[in-house]
């Protein structure tokens, strides 16, 4: 219980800082919007092709926005060496991981709320009939992406090469999950039946469990000397 309560305090702290500065939401959402608009201008041919291209564009925008937001979130922990304050406090180490994961997840979901309708508009997609399943795919994909990203952002925040390490390590690691999310979204937009979507959701759910359990267990050793 203590772990979850302390994690929630850290999430609230992150959300309060973001509410005050709007820094992560504004910069990463603008970047994501730029990716969507430029991609639609380059790749949009006709409604059939757009259903194949849009999932890739959406997930590229989410992945880049995610790397930027996680990097900035952990950058805040480096200012004034605030992360040391957390590490010195008598809380279980995994609570820091869970707290940062949850705030990262919430912030990236907020960015996705902007990006998904934008993809629908620029690629002429009617997402309303598949909104429930799309939300589940994006939610599970985001959870896994942030779970892996949070662990490696922490590692790089304690070292020197923050964004470089994050990009180099996180993308290969989450590639299977990201690929699953892209294919699941593509199949969904192509009219796949519910059973097929559920298969992909199971795959994404399994990735989430592995990444979250790995992050929970490894965060302490990773962040300590």
């Amino acid at each position: 219980m203590t772990t979850l309560r302390m994690a929630w305090l850290i999430t609230l702290k992150d959300l309060r800082v973001e509410w005050r500065t709007k820094e992560i939401i504004v910069t990463t959402a603008l970047f994501g919007v730029l990716v969507v608009i430029l991609s639609s201008l380059s790749f949009y041919l006709n409604p059939t092709m757009s259903r194949r291209v849009a999932p890739g564009v959406l997930w590229v925008a989410i992945a880049f926005a995610g790397v930027l937001s996680l990097g900035r979130s952990w950058g805040r922990e480096k200012e004034n060496d605030a992360i040391r304050g957390l590490l010195l406090s008598p809380i279980p180490r995994p609570s820091i991981y869970l707290g940062k994961w949850l705030s990262g997840f919430i912030l990236l979901c907020a960015i996705e709320v902007i990006l998904i309708p934008l993809v629908a508009v620029f690629f002429h997609l009617d997402l309303i009939p598949v909104a429930g399943r799309l939300t589940a795919i994006v939610g599970l994909g985001t959870a896994g992406f942030v779970a892996a990203g949070t662990l490696f952002s922490a590692l790089s925040a304690r070292g020197g090469a923050r964004d470089l390490l994050l990009s180099v390590v996180v993308f290969p690691l989450i590639a299977p999950a990201l690929l699953s999310a892209v294919v699941a979204t593509r199949e969904l937009l192509a009219g796949a039946p519910l059973e097929e979507t559920l298969e992909w959701l199971r795959v994404l759910g399994a990735f989430d469990i592995v990444f979250l359990a790995g992050g929970y267990a490894l965060f302490g050793p990773v962040i300590s000397e």
Partner: protein
């Protein structure tokens, strides 16, 4: 877990960072109700010793005993307060928000009263509502000191606490250290500031190239 913290000692503590030897067999003892100042030139291992006492780093060899016992790393964090050169405060939060966050993390009983007491003690009220990034160095250090004392630590570790402070802030710092000593805390201070050191030190340990340069000297012996 909780212990009395009547004494902390290091026995032949060595710390290696790769091939660099930061500490080389340090034996030292820190008593409750006493202020020990650790002196020495840059790179002599002062801050490394504080890291090890705070259980932030493991010694490469040697032992640290708390009340004569070896304690597993991380178990004593609630009873240890660390003030470093960096404030460890969130720049976008104000004093109340920063202190409330850490009071919750330290599970301080009656946090509102404790925070008000510390704010009054360190004259934080005037700028408490502004975010930390707008404060001066002295104001930042005063709130950092309040953060350090929130959990009423038994072992207080201060790394260059007077750097960049004006006279008024140094006076507040000296008074706070005296108060903590009277309360019975073990206070260990790393400083280059000789005037500040002579104001607070009961005992001095001088490090040179990772070793204790000479036997610890009491302030009386020095004078």
């Amino acid at each position: 877990m909780s212990i009395d913290f009547s004494k902390v000692s290091t026995e032949a503590v060595t710390k290696l960072y790769g091939v660099t030897r930061a500490l080389a067999g340090v034996d030292a003892e820190f008593q409750a109700g006493e202020v020990t100042v650790i002196e020495g030139p840059n790179g002599s291992g002062k801050s490394t010793l504080l890291h090890i006492l705070a259980q932030e780093a493991r010694p490469s060899s040697g032992l640290v005993r708390y009340d004569g016992r070896r304690i597993r790393r991380g178990r004593l964090r609630a009873q240890i307060g660390v003030l470093a050169h960096q404030s460890m405060l969130y720049p976008d939060l104000n004093a109340d928000e920063n202190l409330s966050l850490f009071a919750s993390l330290y599970q301080v009983t009656d946090p509102a009263t404790r925070i008000e007491t510390l704010k009054e003690r360190f004259h934080i009220g005037r700028f408490a509502a502004r975010p930390a990034r707008t404060w001066s160095r002295g104001q930042l250090q005063r709130v950092a000191l309040a953060r350090t004392l929130l959990g009423t630590p038994r072992l207080l570790l201060l790394d260059e606490p007077s750097t960049g402070l004006d006279t008024r802030s140094v006076e507040l710092l000296i008074a706070a250290i005296a108060q903590e000593r009277t309360r019975g805390a073990i206070v260990v201070v790393v400083t280059h500031d000789q005037a500040f050191s002579s104001e607070i030190a009961d005992t001095r340990v001088r490090l040179k190239q990772g070793r204790v340069a000479d036997a610890p000297l009491s302030n009386e012996a020095l004078s």
